[in-house]
Structure formats: C-alpha cells, structure tokens
C-alpha cells in the first residue's frame, strides 16, 4: 500500500471502528470492549510501518496527500508527517490501546458510548498531528474537545461537571482567538498572492510584517499555552485530571498536552519566527517558573493523582525550555521529552488508576506498606517513578539531559534553575512513593491483591518503552534531527533579521545572560 494512503487509513481507522460500534447492541459489553481494543491495536500495528518507513534524513513533509476539500474557499485536505509529528503520531497510537485496556473493568456504565468517544477522540488526535491545512487542523483540534469533554463529564469523578466545563471553556477561550488569526492569515495570503488558501505550506512563505506577527503569534500561542498548560494557564489541568477516568487522564497527559507544544513548534515557530524570537525570554521565564511552581505544588499534594497532574506542569516546563532555547540538541530533547512525558506520565496515571480501582481512594495518607501485598505492582511503579524523575538508563534522563545540555550554551542561568527542578521532582515522587509503598501495612491495605494478567500486560509495553528510549534513544532522535535543524535554521534567519532591524526581544534586559 502507498504510504500516504496508509497514513490516511490509520488516521481514520478508529473513526470507522466507531461507526461499526454503532451497529453492535449495547448489551454486548464484552464485544464492544473487545472491538474497541482490537481497532486501537490494529491502528497501532498499522502505524508501525509509517514509523519505520519515515525517512529521517529529510526535513520535508512525507506521505503527503493533497485533495480539494472545500474549493469554494480554498480549504484542502492536505496531510503529511515530518520529524516533528512522527513521534507524537506513533505515541498516540501506542497509548490508545493501553488506555482502552486500562478501562476494561472500571467502566461499567454506557460502555458503548465510552468506546465510541475513545475511538473518535483517537482519530481527531491523529488528525491534529498530520493536518497541513489550517482549517483542517482547527477542525480536528476542536473535534477532539467534544469526546474529551464527554469522557470527563460522563465517566468522571464527583466534581466532573465542573471540571469538564472548565476544561472546555479554557480550551475554547484559546482556540476562538486562534480561529480569528487563521482567518486573518487567510486574507493576508490572498492579499499577497491573490490565491485563497488555508494551506500551511503556502502561508509559511508569506512575509508577514513584524507587528502583525506579534498579534498573530499571541493569538496562536494563547491557544497552545492553555493546552500545554503553561504557567499561569494551568489551573484547568489538575481539576480535569482528578475528575477524569483513568483512561481520560492517560490520554490527557499522554497526548493532549503535547498538542500545545507541538502547535507552538508547528505554527508559531514556522509562521512567525520573528515574533518567536521576540517572545523567547517571556516563554523561558514562564517555562522555568512552571518547572519550579509545578514541582513545589506537587510536593504538598495529598492526592496522588493531583500530584502527578502538577508534576506534568513541571515537566512541560522543561519541554518549553528546550523548545525556546533554540539549539538543535535542546529542541530534539524537547521533542523527545514530549514522548517521554507521554509514556511516563501516562504510566503514572495508569498505576494510580490501578490502586484506585482497588481502594477507591487516592489519598496518600490512606496507603502505606503496599509493597508487601503488591510486589509486582511496586516494581512497576518504582520504575515509572524513576523514569519520571529522570534516572539515567530511563527515558526521562535522556530527554532532560538533552534539554539541559542544549540550553546551557544560550541560557545558563535558566538552565541551572531548571536543573534544580529535577531535584524537586526526585523529592516529590520518591517521598510519595515512600509514603504509599513502604512503612507499616495498615489494616485497610492488607486485602489488596497484586496485579492480574491484564494489568501486567498494560504495564509491560510501557516499561519496554521506558528502557528502549533510555538506552537507545537514537531510534527516535534519528527521525527528528533533520526537521529540527531546518527549524533552527529558519529561526536563526529570523534572529539575524531582527538584529538588522534593530529589534530586541521582550524583557531582554532581565535575562541576566
């Protein structure tokens, strides 16, 4: 099969699977679940050839398809994949079967609707990563919101309605202004070239004036910063995580947050490189504040899930640092860290879900001495915690190391401060681990059973991934290198133009570099 048509098939396979689900009666819950798992597994397997065949020696878009979609306004179905998206694309297909398998027993009501929502969500997420047309991108971006909203709102915890609404309203605030900016770019493209097109590749070549770049950058960046979430737009995240069902949290941490960082690179950097330079100090500040703030708040949480949620704020701060430090190493680290965070935080939420299913509480103080009754679980949990805090040999180390090494040359002070964040990460994760897993075994925890075969089957691929990236990361970095180099080159050109035009970045006097 042609690779480009395989890409289209993989993207829409889950949605087609959801259509078939409509025909299965709702009482056949076992069949519904198996079908959902099967579809997501096939999607994953089918996406592996994409990863293997992807040519890492090229920065160009690969496996592209371009078709007229709405000729009347010049919107096209233009998709393709490059070094920026290939890892995230495969990460999505990797995480979905795990998330579906993880909800095997915990979702007992409206199973059919649940599976439909999951599969449609998967198609929408995959679509976001491959869209090369701004309207197509926006369509997937928003389409993803509805199933996620339902996942939190229908199958969530006690305060789910509040959390779901907060999630939607926050995301909408950002994306509505992004839509305005998209239409503005479209009209701008028409003014310059006379053609009506939402095509990213066409709009990328526009010479946008500096002042327009500033506003457009802000409109796009707001949408993505909320999604990341960057400090101070992060307040929706803990609520959404805590109230979402386990699979929802896994997808939220594993994939959805990456869309923010991905969007920044894909749109803000490529479309508005000068504005990117201009705002770099601001984002570095916010990134580093996020690292420390997230870590500190995580430390005082009494709810394990909330702790993991705040750790995401901290980890995403690292990714922002890597992206805005603008060296090939730091940005590659940033992209790899997106995958790492997806795997590790996803796994943390899976683990939290497993003990929550047993005890129906996530309060740290309720646990203690769990190691003695759940030895297998504690081994997995420890590995995941260590990977999340960046122990050498695990994936977290590689990503954070690349980010810090790459950033140090340009921004030593920020890098040193960020390094402190790693220490805090060790503190809150290990402290949590000690309180939950060690200590005296309390009465309530005595009857806990260890992981069953299904749960082990969920954990094993994650653990494999953690060590694979930790030991041999070049499988993954080889795919991204050329794309990153091209991005950096583009940014450096913009930087040189900025110098010629005599413009200084915002807050540049406060950099202390």
């Amino acid at each position: 099969m042609e690779m480009s048509s395989l890409l289209n098939w993989v993207t829409f396979l889950p949605a087609l699977g959801a259509l078939v689900l409509l025909a299965i009666p709702r009482t056949e819950t076992q069949l519904v679940k198996s079908w959902g798992l099967l579809v997501s597994l096939i999607t994953f397997l089918a996406s592996i050839p994409l990863f293997i065949m992807f040519d890492g020696n090229s920065a160009a878009m690969q496996f592209t398809t371009q078709m007229d979609w709405i000729p009347a306004i010049g919107a096209s179905y233009h998709v393709g994949i490059d070094g920026l998206s290939i890892l995230l694309y495969v990460l999505t297909t990797f995480i979905m079967p795990l998330a579906i398998f993880a909800s095997w027993n915990s979702i007992t009501e409206r199973v059919k609707e649940y599976m439909i929502a999951m599969l449609i969500l998967e198609s929408a997420m995959l679509g976001v990563f491959i869209s090369l047309d701004l309207i197509l991108f926006y369509l997937f971006w928003e389409a993803m919101l509805i199933p996620m909203y339902l996942l939190i709102g229908v199958w969530g915890g006690k305060r789910r309605i509040y959390a779901a609404l907060k999630f939607v309203v926050y995301t909408m605030v950002g994306s509505v202004l992004m839509l305005v900016a998209i239409v503005f770019l479209y009209i701008l493209n028409n003014t310059y070239t006379g053609a009506y097109s939402f095509d990213l590749m066409a709009i990328m070549n526009l010479k946008i004036s500096f002042s327009a770049q500033i506003w457009l950058f802000l409109a796009f960046a707001l949408a993505f910063a909320i999604k990341v979430p960057m400090f101070p737009f992060h307040t929706w995240l803990p609520d959404a995580h805590v109230e979402a069902p386990t699979a929802g949290s896994v997808i939220l941490a594993g994939v959805l947050l990456k869309m923010g960082t991905y969007g920044l690179l894909r749109f803000n950097l490529t479309l508005f490189p000068q504005a990117w330079e201009y705002f770099t100090p601001l984002f570095l500040w916010l990134g580093v504040i996020g690292i420390l703030y997230g870590a500190w708040v995580a430390m005082v949480q009494t709810d394990i899930k909330k702790l993991v949620a705040y750790s995401s704020v901290s980890h995403l701060g690292f990714i922002i640092l890597g992206m805005f430090a603008m060296t090939v190493t730091s940005m590659q680290g940033g992209i790899l860290q997106m995958v790492n965070h997806g795997v590790s935080s996803g796994a943390l939420f899976l683990a939290v879900g497993m003990i929550y299913e047993r005890r129906h509480t996530r309060e740290i103080s309720e646990f203690g001495g769990v190691t003695r009754v759940m030895p297998v679980f504690s081994a997995f949990f420890l590995i995941i915690c260590l990977s999340s805090l960046g122990l050498p040999g695990t994936n977290g180390f590689v990503g954070e190391f690349l980010i810090l090494v790459g950033s140090y040359g340009n921004y030593p002070v920020f890098t040193i401060v960020a390094t402190v964040g790693i220490i805090f990460a060790a503190a809150y994760l290990l402290w949590m681990f000690r309180r939950v897993m060690f200590g005296p075994l309390t009465e309530k925890n005595k009857s806990l059973t260890d992981l069953d075969g299904r749960e082990i089957a969920i954990m094993i691929p994650v653990i494999l991934m953690i060590f694979w990236i930790g030991v041999y990361p070049s499988t993954f970095t080889a795919k991204t290198e050329k794309t990153v180099e091209a991005l950096i080159e583009k940014a450096n050109k913009a930087k040189a133009e900025m110098v010629i035009e005599g413009r200084k970045p915002i807050l540049s006097d406060f950099l202390g570099e």
Partner: protein, 482 residues
Amino acid sequence: MVNINIGNADFLAILPMIVLSFTGIYLLVQGVMAPRMKKSVLSYLGIVGILFSIISNFYLLTIVTEGGQAFFYGMIYLDKLTIILNFIFLVTAALCLLLVNSYSTQEDIEFIEFTPLVIFATVGMMLMGSSYSLMSLFLGLETMSIALYALAGFRKFNRRSLEAALKYFLLGAFATGFLLYGIALLYGAAGSTSLEAIANFLSQNSNPGMMATFGIALMIIGFAFKVALVPFHMWTPDVYQGAPMPVTAFMAVGAKAAGFAAILRVIIGAAGAAEPIWSDLLWWLTVITMTGGNLIALVQSDIKRMLAYSSIAHAGYIMIGIVAANDVTVSAVLFYLIVYMFMNIGAFAVAGIVSGKNERFVDIKHYAGLGKAQPLLALVMTVCMFSLAGFPPTGGFMGKLYIFKAAYQSGFQTLVIIGALNSLLSVYYYIRVVVAMYFQEAAEEQESGSILPEVGLVLLIALIGIFYMGIFPGNTLTWLYY
C-alpha cells in the same frame, strides 16, 4: 390607459407560489367540507403541495437567466437568489408540517387551519424573497405576518399562547408602521417603489438627502423587528415561549430567513450604493444584538426562551455578513441560513417531544437524564447544541467561518473578534443542555412520549444536514456562490 400585458413567462416565474397558493386554498376548503376526515391527512396533503412546489422550483432553475430577470412589470425578480430562498422556505415549511401531527396528538387539539396558514405564510415569505418592488415586498411581508399572528395563538386555551399572539400582532403592526413610513419616504425621494429605480437613484446621488436617509433608517428598523435585532427584539422571547412548538420553529427559522431575504433584497441589493448611510448603524446593531442575545441567554432556564435569545444572537452573526457587504455576503448569509434551519428545527423538534402535554417540561432541568431515557433525542439535541455553539465539524462552525471570512475581506476585524468572543460566550449556555442530558440524573420519572416516524425523519434530516454542511460544505457553497 396603460396596456396591461402579462404573459405566460410571468406566471411561470412564480409557479412555486401559484402551486402553493392553490394548495392552501384547497386545504382550507377540504378542512371545512370534510370535517370528519382525519386531521393528520391535511398536513400530509400540505407536504405533498410543498413537494410539488419544490419540483416547480427546480423547474425555475432551468429557466433562470444569468443575473436574473424582472417579471410582472418589475414587481417580481427571478434570479438564483430567489430560487435558493424558495428552497429554504419550502424545506422549513415541510419540516415544520412534519412536526405538527406529533404535537397535536400530544396537545390534543385539532389543527384544521394550521396547515393552510403555514402554507400561506410560506407564500408570503417566497414573495418577499422574490420581490423587486417595495410594494410586492410589503405584500409578501404582510401575507406572512398575518398568518403567523394567527399561528402564534393556536393554543386557544392557553394564556401564554394568546398573550404571544397579541404581543406579536401589536408589535408587528408597529414595526409595519415603521416599514411603511420608510417605504413612503424612500418612494418620495426616489420617485418609484421599484428596487431598480431606487438603486439607480442612490448610486447617482452620493448624498441622497434627508428623506432617503430617513427612509432607509426606518426600513432598517422595520426589518430589525422582523429578524429580532436588539433593541427591537422584545417580542421574541415571549412569542417563542407562548407559541406552539412547531410554530415557534417555523417562526424562528422561516420568518427570520424571510426577514433576511428582505434585507438582502433592499439593503444589500437596492441600497447597496448607500452603504455609508447604513454601515455604521448596522455595525452597532450587530454588536449589541450578538452580545445582548448571548448575555441574556446565559441566564435563561426555559429552553424556548433560551433558544429565542440564541436566535437573536444568531441573527447578530448573520448581520456580520450583511455589514461586510461584499461579493460573498449573499452566499455567506444563505449558507448560514441553511445551517441555521437544520440546527434550529432539530433543537425545536427535540424540545417539542420532551415538552409533553401542555408544554410542561420546558425547563432545562427537565432534560436531566435524557441521555439515558432517550439516547436518540439526546444525540440530536447534542449535535444541534454543538452546532449552534459553532464547534467543528458541524455546519454551525462552517457558517461562522464564512461569515467571518466575508467580514475580514471588507476589513471588519473588530467585528470578527467580537463575533468570535460571542460564540465563546454562547458555549456556556448551549453546553448546559448537554450537561443536563448526560451528566445529571433525572429527578423524577417523567412521561417520555414515543417518537413518531415522521418526527424521526425530521431529526434524521437535521442530523444529516448539520454534518453534511460541516464536513462537505464545498458543494453547497459552490452552488450558492454566483
């Protein structure tokens, strides 16, 4: 002595209206002559008449000339706009008639005159859409309005319904007064009621004088009443709430589309050259309509009132396209009207079934647990709500996109940003319905009426329409653009 010479071509140009008028007259007679006949048959016969009218409308497509042509001594204009508007009115009427039987069974009232009234109102709308003279426009407007006044009061034993009819009649008459005054002034200035003559007059005089300016302003006020722009919207919530549900749907969609048809014909068409006169006025009307409608909708608990304020807000969005006043205005407005038809009829159809006898269950809290009790209804309602809020991949999103695009092209960036923020605001109240349906448990067991097949058909059409317009808008848009 004027030699009046009306040929076959003139009658062919209004064939859909003729077919529909005869259907209406026939149904009136049939209803009286055969009182023992099952009343539901009347609405089916009405739908058959509408289908014939739709077929003759297709025939018009074959004879329409590029750029259009006037008939009946410049009273009627036949161009593609006429035909597209006809389709919108006819489909709206057909969908509403499909809802009537379910409603009349539920309410236990007999709707003998209902179908003929809907049909005559539709004829009036079509006349408005094809008018080429202020006289024929007024004729169409009154034909539509008088039928609607009667329809609003159809629940004869319900106070709300009677109040709605009276309010609608009084305020409507008032608006008509404004409109007539405007027509008179414009006629005085231009010396003719023909839209062509008015267009010529306005394009030749860059400063058309006080009389024409006031004429245009007063006509705008008249139209603003009909399409419910703030601050001329006061009647809308009460009338929508009081009128029977299918009538509310018909008014919210059909009458509003007719009002916009008149605005397209008169303001964009004839008074297009006088844009400096009305542009600022409409800009402000648009902003306060969107914002006002959305803000008040936030606090509504009655679904019909919520939808009423939502329809006001949507009139505001459509007005963005009117203010843009460029070559894509017509297609953007028509596209929005079509999407608006699908999503509102879908929403009102669901609301009609949920409301139960005497429309007791019209509060948003009555939708609690609907997702479990009636999954299909809840699904349609969810899609309609998301489409109204403007989420992709629904038609509501594409409609807003075209409207915004049109405004951008004319340089109304601020208006686009205000519109975008407004649609953000609207998410909150639309989503409340979804929250109730899926996230909340039903407080008490309420009777859940069964869904008649014809209502199911309406729901299906709404669903397909919304997604078709959202995912494959290209075909429709290419067709609308000319």
